[in-house]
Symmetry: C2
Subunit: 415 residues, 2 copies
């Protein structure tokens, strides 16, 4: 057995006790939150090693910032653990059921998935965030973080394991792969005997590599080439506010928009208002010919690749469309199926847009930035699924579960 | 573009109209049922070619039987289509929803998965059964059947496509891959751009190959190493009837049992009663040492591989266990997570068994043969999932769907 196979076997064993751990799970979460606070100095010292290495290796300021743990950030992580603790336990929930004509009572109940693998990049807060969501939903987890955060991750994991053990649960409920070579990722992706699902959290390259190479089931997360379509009947000021919010409130995240589509009947009036609002944040516009004809040559010409790109930055592609159908066809062609929005005053178009656009979240008259487990009322999220299998959209605790049918009889046999 | 990529693109286009096809889907199903009856002679003639080829190639009598279509069997397929037609349409069902404090109305609704691939072996009835379940749930389907049934499959598919078109839907809603080489399977498994899920239906080898090689999401079906545990407090006659039914009513199917575990406190009395019942069907027993000590040397000794084997035949492995925990541990080690049963009169053990045994269907005092979409009240099934992701247990129409969040606002933006 390789080291990772051994971890798989230990996780599988831990998952069996976690599945029936009941209120001990909350005791473990409380212990984790307290232990993170109690070990703040140790965690910061471990993080210091990662930061020093990062500076030596020339990490960008943005990456260094994402890697940095402070007393306040550790307190924030601990508060997040307590928030997850306060959520209802999904395990054992009866989803449906009934008594069949032959007297068999059939109940469909939520059970944990079992063993979850998480592959993520350099943010060490994911270590605790992901682990506690898995724990609360009764799953054992194997974490594989980026090499930049390995010392922070090792320290946080050890703190969590001790806390879990102090609450009477198996410390192998949470494990970290300490080998950050490419080989360890590949082994995890092929751990079919032990892993029930693998969730990549990070950039496009990481997610693509996992989807391409994994032999275990994967939940694809995160890619967001999102659009807002301004219909002919849109309230122009509302459209400008929604676009401003969806583009500029946090451009790097997956629910930010990358392209707007504007109906030609309203483009003359709407585009200058939208541009004026975006100018406040110096958003670079890349437009089609009609857009440039209206807004002038301060707008750069857009090329094919602009319709495909998730900028993650203060850049927005703009296209004037001649019909609702053209807007919908553009979205069908370029959307990654994350979040799509129409701004309209037309009841029929609102209804039609929500029916025909194929995405995890389809909006009428609201910013796509709401696509988020917290905003949707799920309490917390482990990511946003952009695939259709198992779950789609923000994933909370319910989405980390499977089901089991319980059939209770009195000796029934099948004819 | 390869032929299969072209089929993928056509299926994707068809899926967009199918997603909003509403009652046209039932019109298409009615037309398919009628067309199958009207074309009975053509289908039987095409099937005759497959049967002649099969006989030339020395197919076993059992395979020839599974391959054979008669007027009665075609009528049975058509009746199945009408049964699916009568089921409620899952698309558009509101699963959950509510209004957030900021006034956003969020509704989670069922939508089709999109494009489903089905890889199956020699039974030509699967062609129609699988296609109509996909159609009813608003999904386009690409079928890849075995070479033994290729002429039957081509004829049935053409009949269905004409019927679908006559109802005003896209004939590419159902497509058959006519190339039955290994290469076409592999291309389908790698069709990530177009396929939302691939479902293998067939033997262990086929399922294993798909799980190992697919780059698209897969739903694993079918493997069933199922157990019945006879607890110390069991009603012995009930246990014998349940075991007799679960082993002999249809030994080749995945919900038949392969091993029984009998508590040592009841084994002396129970095993002779169980054996007497199984002797009526000449079931071969393979037992542990304690079993042979009780039942005598007419029972063959079981070896390790017997605990692992899905016989699919009139063979049953028998093990005497010294405790409830030993039975549960044996099941945890050897079960494929399909269907597991306890026969008991003890309330605590019944409750505990359903809590700790990790399988799609966990039974108390009933035959495992009930694990089936029809028996569970789902109306029809496309297979039985033995994985935990997306769906577990019998898969009906709901299990062929995904979800979409619809968010309706009045200009809300995120702080």
């Amino acid at each position: 057995m390789t080291v990772i196979e051994q971890m798989g076997a230990k996780a599988k064993a831990a998952s069996q006790s976690l599945a029936i751990a009941g209120e001990k799970k909350n005791a473990a979460l409380a212990a984790i939150a307290q232990a993170l606070i109690d070990n703040t100095d140790n965690i910061i010292a471990a993080n210091r090693i990662d930061l020093d290495n990062g500076e030596k290796n020339g990490l960008s300021a943005a990456l260094i910032d994402r890697l940095t743990l402070t007393e306040a950030r550790i307190k924030g992580i601990a508060d997040g653990v307590l928030e997850v603790m306060a959520l209802p336990d999904p395990i054992g929930t009866v989803i449906s059921g009934g008594t069949r004509p032959n007297g068999l009572r059939i109940t469909k109940v939520r059970v944990p998935l079992g063993v979850i693998g998480i592959i993520f990049e350099s943010r060490p807060n994911v270590t605790a965030d992901a682990a506690v969501l898995c724990l609360k939903s009764g799953n054992a987890v194997i974490l594989r973080g980026g090499k930049e955060a390995i010392n922070s991750n090792k320290c946080i994991t050890a703190v969590m394991q001790d806390a879990i053990e102090s609450a009477g649960l198996d410390r192998n409920s949470v494990q970290l792969i300490e080998d950050t070579s490419r080989q360890s990722s590949i082994e995890l992706m092929e751990l079919t005997e032990y892993l029930d699902v693998l969730i990549p959290r990070g950039g496009k390259g990481l997610i693509r590599a996992v989807v391409e190479n994994a032999k275990v089931p994967v939940i694809e997360t995160g890619a967001g080439n999102c659009h807002t379509y301004v219909d002919a009947s849109a309230d122009i000021n509302m459209a400008a506010e929604i676009i401003y919010n969806a583009k500029t409130s946090r451009p790097s995240v997956c629910n930010a928009i990358e392209t707007i589509l504007v109906h030609e009947d309203i483009a003359d009036k709407a585009l200058p208002v939208i541009k004026a609002r975006l100018d406040e944040k110096n958003v670079e516009l890349r437009g089609c010919e009609k857009t440039i004809a209206i807004l002038g040559s301060s707008v750069k010409p857009a090329c094919e690749s602009d319709w495909e790109t998730e900028y993650g930055d203060y850049i927005l592609a703009v296209k004037v469309v001649s019909s609702f159908d053209e807007a919908v066809a553009h979205i069908a062609k370029y959307s990654t199926g994350h979040s799509e929005c129409i701004v309209t005053s037309d009841y029929k178009n609102a209804k039609r847009f929500t029916a025909v656009v194929d995405a995890a979240a389809v909006y009428v008259n609201a910013s796509t930035r709401f696509t988020d487990g917290g905003m949707f009322g799920l309490g917390a999220e482990i990511g946003i699924s952009t695939q259709k299998l198992h779950t789609r959209g923000p994933m909370g605790l319910n989405e980390l579960t499977s089901v089991k049918f319980i059939i209770e009889g009195d000796g029934q046999v099948r004819n």
